[in-house]
Symmetry: D2
Subunit: 285 residues, 4 copies
């Protein structure tokens, strides 16, 4: 879920709630608040907790709420996750600590996630997002962590398909693998993962849900065809234009994007034209 | 196809021919001589031409012979490819020039492949092998080149699935996409590519052929299952142990690996034990 | 300045103060609290402010106090820096925001640092630490920012000597360039930068000061000789063993290292032996 | 030394000789034929030998001639180097084999260079050019190789100053370290290396010689000042425009650049204007 801001930089909670109400109409399974497209690193703890509370309150009743509550230190991660749990979050998505990336080896990461899982009131999912962290959870660590009863899965946004194969091979049976970026989603589905959590679903939730639905029904050619059509849009809202591109696409597709928070730049007029063109080519507008 | 050497560094042509005779018994579609696992960069032109001639002579009659005849300069690539054509090769696999990688932009690569395709007597396939070249053909270049009547396809060994999606989207209809490494093969098949040319088929040709056969028959679960089982073997003979690991696996699986040529090292005893263990886990020995 | 922790993870303020008192005896020009070797990302705001206050209080009177108060968002950076200013800090070291590294282009970074410098009560220094951030300030941005009256310099920890040459060429005359890592320090001094802020000075402050002193006196051969002798120690406390290696070296050299905070691991016994050996080779113990 | 080509792609030997005659007027110590700026990978063996013979014949009598005779295989490297020796070359510059870069570990590279040095009639220099090879000789290998009586030095074009410090620390006394790129040259001189072999000297040999002369005389400020002035020119003829930029600069500065060989592109008109502007800013034209 994106976080709309006002021009003055304050969180625009009204727009945030309006988005939830519209996503409630779409065929989604749940929501991730405070993800890597939520400008979470720009938010104060007070803002984070308010966004969590609003998500829990306004989501359609049966839908799952995940919150990205990972921090660099073990103790802060546990503290914030348990605050989120108290607000009614179903599970937490915990990013690999990465500031001292060169030292985040298997032992450090296994210790970290084990201690977090041991001390959190809600289940956790591992979050592997190499584009941001410049480190990757290895299969050797996932093999160990997937056996922990309170670690229920992983969102893998690395896009590394060879590594995904290894995750699939070594994981414990009850451990869910989710694609974290639409670019790797369809090939990973073909390999046998369970689903996805992706930025693109902010802007075109029904189309994303449709790919998964076609695939689950065994309608593989239709799933692939729709996936290939959406691919350039995903590239636009991630690699090329990032969060600002995603927010602008949301605006064009009936949601509230709002401003980015500084230092993140909004799209220029030229960039807006390119993004609009991409949406047109995909017949979304 | 691997190139077996004698301990003194000479090409072991007898072993080379014996391998072909054994591969002729397996369910393969064709052969690639002088690929990136053939230690081609260590061969003199005389040796290259002899290996080509032997492959053409000994292959099972209906099978296709491809030869890797790309050189750094345009003129040498054309000259060598036409020599290969005269020896009976069906098509040439042309690697992207990469010594001046920073300057091999779309314009340079489009010019290069167009001029090569224009002047060669046989069709060519593009060869994108980023692990070696540290550059990648972009979709924008593939879009143009796939329309050339004498460029019939591409072997993509990059393993970059997002880029493969783009290749699939932009290519001309008659242009064949082939996975160049087993690690990306199954996901790429699911995305709609045509097949693969891979190191792994040296050591276990029938198993590789079976994955493709299952997939083509729509037997997707069996294809995936076998693919996942072979995956660690592929990792062993590429990423972990490379050509020396591939040659040793060939020895264990009934083919002739022979020595590597210097400066490439043969496996140590410890490495041999690890490679053997990987083959055992995959139930190949 | 390192931040010593207790075994239970709490900040050990007593050890922190004892270190300052010992560094006060050494030939240092000033202190940097909350740098990248201070495990700053693991600290709460309350802990940060207490460490700042203690540094200001206990430093030898004429010495400069810098604080690393950069945050990902512009508004939080300004807020925290002004709190540090109120506590008596002389200048702030502001890291380039990097979570959305792909979007931190010249425009974003120039906007960020300009707005921060405009709204802070104390002068700021740019902090370019590519090993952590995976982005680099470019000379084109430094050229603009070095003219801002409230931006007084840069700590460059990139170790990229070619880029340092460009910084030297384009900077405004009044803008100070400081090496941020001992590995690049002597060559950068030779190129004409002003000095350095480096992890190594935690463990052997007098030796570091001596290199600079020899250099400033024109005693170039002695400066280089001592620098070359210290080089492996610097590699040990940065590249090889990182913060944990630095803390252990501090322990061996008469300072208080304390524990690291989780998830950062302390040295194993084997690593301790290696680090000790490095210090012995450099005749520091 | 650049290799001028005719528009039809043939080597322009007349221009090549005219360049030598002009460089003979400049304050150079010697020549490197078949370096990484000579488009060596585009040359046939016949062309290579002819260029070597012409260099030996036309160089000013006391000047050293080096030839880049490294090939991927050990046996070909020895064969070609000894042919160069027979033509009168003083020493050979041997690039690290790099096609199977992931396997070129210390053992492989030490074996390679040792066997080459053992079997060549002339002394050799190691050539570390990471931009091309994507691998680097490590200090651990250089420590061993620098003791070999027939390995007299290394041209390091990596630009990695931290690694240069390690080379300086571990090398045998009689082993010469030469900067391979002007961007790292002055800082490396300050660290104590012996000199440089650099592309830039094709276009402005006297200016390059002057930097070294000032430095050797202890005139450090003048050396640095001239170095800083030349720096953007070096960046233009290496990083930005590469060989084509170097050849065009040679044309503008009184030498014969000639055409590049395909697939390498010549400069566009816009690029020529930029390159000319850089030369003007450095007051070379």
């Amino acid at each position: 879920m994106i976080t709309p801001f006002k021009e003055n930089g304050d969180v625009d909670y009204d727009k945030f709630v309006r988005n939830i109400e519209r996503w409630n109409q779409a065929e989604l399974t749940g929501y991730l608040v405070l993800g890597s497209n939520s400008e979470t690193v720009y938010l104060t703890e007070e803002e984070k907790l308010k966004l969590i509370a609003l998500t829990v309150k306004h989501r359609k009743k049966e839908r799952v709420v995940l919150a990205g509550t990972g921090m660099e230190s073990t103790r802060e991660t546990i503290r914030l996750t348990n605050k989120a749990a108290d607000l009614g979050v179903d599970a937490a998505l915990i990013i690999t600590p990465f500031y001292y990336g060169g030292k985040m080896n298997d032992e450090a990461l296994i210790n970290f996630f084990t201690e977090v899982a041991d001390h959190c009131k809600i289940p956790i999912l591992l979050y592997n997002v190499t584009k941001v962290t410049h480190i990757s959870l290895l299969a050797s660590a996932v093999e160990v962590l997937s056996k922990h009863p309170n670690i229920i899965g992983m969102k893998d946004s690395s896009g590394d398909m060879a590594q995904m194969v290894e995750f699939i091979r070594v994981r414990d049976k009850q451990f869910n693998l989710l694609a974290g970026t639409a670019s790797a989603w369809y090939p990973a589905l073909a390999l046998g993962i369970e689903g996805g959590i992706m930025a693109l679903a902010n802007a075109c939730p029904n189309e994303c849900a449709q790919v998964q639905k076609y695939f689950n029904e065994g309608n593989i050619n239709k799933a692939r065809e729709l996936y290939l059509k959406l691919y350039p849009v995903n590239k636009g809202v991630t690699t090329i234009f990032g969060v600002a591109g995603l927010k602008y696409s949301c605006e064009l597709l009936g949601f509230d994007g709002g401003w980015t928070r500084k230092p993140l730049l909004n799209l220029t007029e030229n960039e807006k034209s390119s993004m609009k063109e991409i949406l047109k080519c995909a017949e979304l507008i």
